[in-house]
Symmetry: C4
Subunit: 270 residues, 4 copies
């Protein structure tokens, strides 16, 4: 397992426009958990996504727009609109604040029926739990799971205390997806290689921090050509900001971390 | 085509009040795209408009007020109120987040029936697409279109790869309006002359950046006597801020750019 | 007329609590103009009021709380609750975003029936226009009007071009209230003396700036024992902040000015 | 009574995750007083709580998420959901903006029927007043009351002018709970000892400051093993921030104090 000791982010080319930086669809946020998808959406804006649409319960629309006017919103229950948005998207995140009830199940089932092979799917939070239960066929597009250890236990059937590199590797191969295993020393399992993150801080152990990372990964994957570089850059940048802010903060609120993204990305630029 | 290498913004006179700095009406923001008109509205406030009214779908009112309490709001579907606001306005922006469906069509048709020759109309975003389809008579007032290249293709019928200075000039004359053609090296076509912007950065290639520019142009036109100076100043200031922020930011979120407007305007003051 | 060349703000005493710094009621904000009362409310919080209640249309509650969680809200149409709040209040502001229709009239009529002699009433914005039309008896409590020149013309019947110190003095005496006449060189007419403000800047000529001043005056009057000192301090501090921010800002957005209030008050402290 | 002259906050351990930093439930915020629970929630986020759920009236959900997307929300009247949340929580705060009517009574009665011995209950604001009236049996879990002097009078039956250390001590013993008596020189009565706070400033005498403290206490108690250390640290840090900000601010708005919490906690870290 390679230590992820540095990353570099591609410099933007002059003759480009917002259409070159990814069309992103974020699906999540039920009546109780709307904040999670708002954090993911704002993380996408501050990471540089060109076009961001959020499919969430209507109760979340006002707060989402209040914090993040750069994103568009649709009703997560409007299947006609959702179908259209899925079609026109490069990269889809599902999970933050989705909830684990039948509505969450439905959203995932619906998405899997409509997703296309050229797209990339990021599965986070509640969507991982639902995947673990429903065990649907993994779609033929690129798929990235972003579990913490408990969610990985559910998805891989490996108890936390037995989650060794070897067994994780086997499970990732079996599942057929990229795995970002969030923990102290986050690990990333791609098809052909693995990375371990040498940075990070317990000051980042707060609610919403995973949603923020999911947004960053989605945005980076939508912007950059190389999926592996996109994922490693997002994971690295996320913890790099956390470490930097933790020098003067006991805890790093996700909202605060998000504001820092464009500055850190600049310092990591090629 | 003249290079727009600098601009200057008129100093405010002591014996003035908010009524001297423009009555602005912004029309846009449907159920899904409300953030666009919120960005335009806040850009107006930070550019110095005296009085700003936003006609938008009621679902957007809470978020708009939350981010921008300086603006007034009306229901875009309340034609009686809208008629009254159009009458009492110097300068009208239509388009950000308007949507391209029949409701957007109706809003434009209604506006064109009520707009008056002494007013200035700025047409942005979805409203350009609708204009391209409906092909209504251009009203007798001053009109400014702010298309990106794809929108300009729709409006002018010139494919992007054939958009030369000469053909753009001809199309602008045929349409009978000022054209702000947004791209790397933004071009402005007035009745008698053209400018090319030598500044700008791909860090500005993000969703909402065009809405922000549309708000700035509307505000500047409402404040300053010379329409051409107003447009060139707004376009220049917008990219000038973007370049400056991009020195330390990989991407420039529109919300962040807006906060900087009054500071840059001060440095560009006569 | 004395030049208001400096003010001083009383130092807070150690053995005090929020109840010592005024119970404030702000009445305003209809369906279209809610932002005005939000600005006034946040100005009160940042000026140091102990307890702030805002009576406004329910459509404004979410945005108000989003920007200003320190304030309480009630429905402006809930007369039972409004009666109770009026009873328990030291100082009442009516007007920002109230609207000039029958609902605004009703709110004023209702307030005048319930206000008590020991309270102070600040009348701003639309409420001044309604007072000018309805011509109700001025209540026996202390009353402060905060008109701009056009509103003063309506209230005093003196055309703007004839608004001399002498005629303003006469009108203030006739009306029997304190007048804060907002203009370049704002003038304050108390019962026994007058002040002219030597500071201020056209960078403050923006929508919402008057609502902000109204909030500051209300807060200061609620906190400080001497009403005249409270009014002069608020007016002075408001323009002092504006001048300071205008050194680096072409225009001063009211939201930005409000954030600065506690800092300037500290520098003006006894 | 010991002077609380310094505190220290435990350093976070590397191998930890958000689940190690407390599951918190905040109950409060009726139709009129929603801002109070929003302040408490954001104070919890900035103090480092792992998981925060807010049970409040649905009218407050949008504003809460707008200011504090890190928190989850549930309807305070949804007893089924509330039962489930109470079960899964370490530490519960009830009171900020709860209101003193029958709905507030019901919420407290319901909570007392469901709370479990291993949990900690913090009782603040309106909930103290209701406790004083209803006089329910104090639950067997750890209980902390955070009254100001008037609320302490209601709870202890000791008139403010007779609130001596001895009588307060007796009342705390009789009630069988920890008392944080908020005043100039805040006092804390634990089972076996007492502390007096030597810091604080009248610049903190503003509406919402108590809600902020209640949020901090709840968050600290949820995070740290030693309840007494948690309470003293929260009380000390709150006033320490207030004093520091008051060096340059005449009044300290609670929203502003909250943003500073992680920075001060870092300076107080072991």
């Amino acid at each position: 397992m390679e230590i992820l000791s540095s990353v570099s982010i591609p410099k933007r080319k002059d003759e480009t426009h917002k259409g070159d930086y990814g069309k992103i669809l974020l699906i999540g946020g039920n009546v109780n958990l709307g904040g999670a998808i708002m954090l993911a959406a704002r993380a996408c804006v501050y990471s540089g996504s060109g076009l961001i649409t959020v499919a969430t319960h209507p109760t979340n629309h006002a707060a989402l727009h209040s914090r993040c006017p750069e994103a568009m919103v649709i009703d997560i229950n409007d299947t006609k609109m959702l179908t259209k948005m899925i079609e026109n998207t490069d990269c889809i995140l599902i999970g933050p604040g989705l909830g684990c009830d039948f509505k969450g199940n439905n959203a995932i089932t619906f998405l899997l029926q409509n997703i296309q092979p050229h797209q990339t799917l990021i599965v986070d939070g509640d969507a991982i739990t639902i995947f673990s239960k429903l065990k649907p066929a993994i779609p033929t597009c690129k798929v990235i799971f972003t579990p913490h250890q408990k969610e990985w236990e559910r998805l891989s059937n490996i108890p936390i205390e037995e989650q060794t590199d070897e067994r994780n590797r086997e499970a990732a191969d079996r599942i057929g997806a990229t795995i970002v295993l969030k923990k102290h020393g986050t690990e990333i399992y791609f098809k052909d290689n693995e990375y371990k993150l040498p940075i990070g801080t317990p000051a980042m152990a707060t609610g919403g921090m995973g949603d923020t990372l999911a947004g960053m990964i989605t945005s980076f994957v939508g912007q950059f050509n190389d999926m592996q570089e996109a994922v490693t850059s997002a994971v690295y940048a996320h913890s790099f900001i956390g470490e930097k802010l933790a020098e003067t903060m006991y805890v790093v609120p996700p909202s605060r971390l998000i504001s820092e993204i464009p500055h850190i990305m600049k310092t990591l630029e090629d």
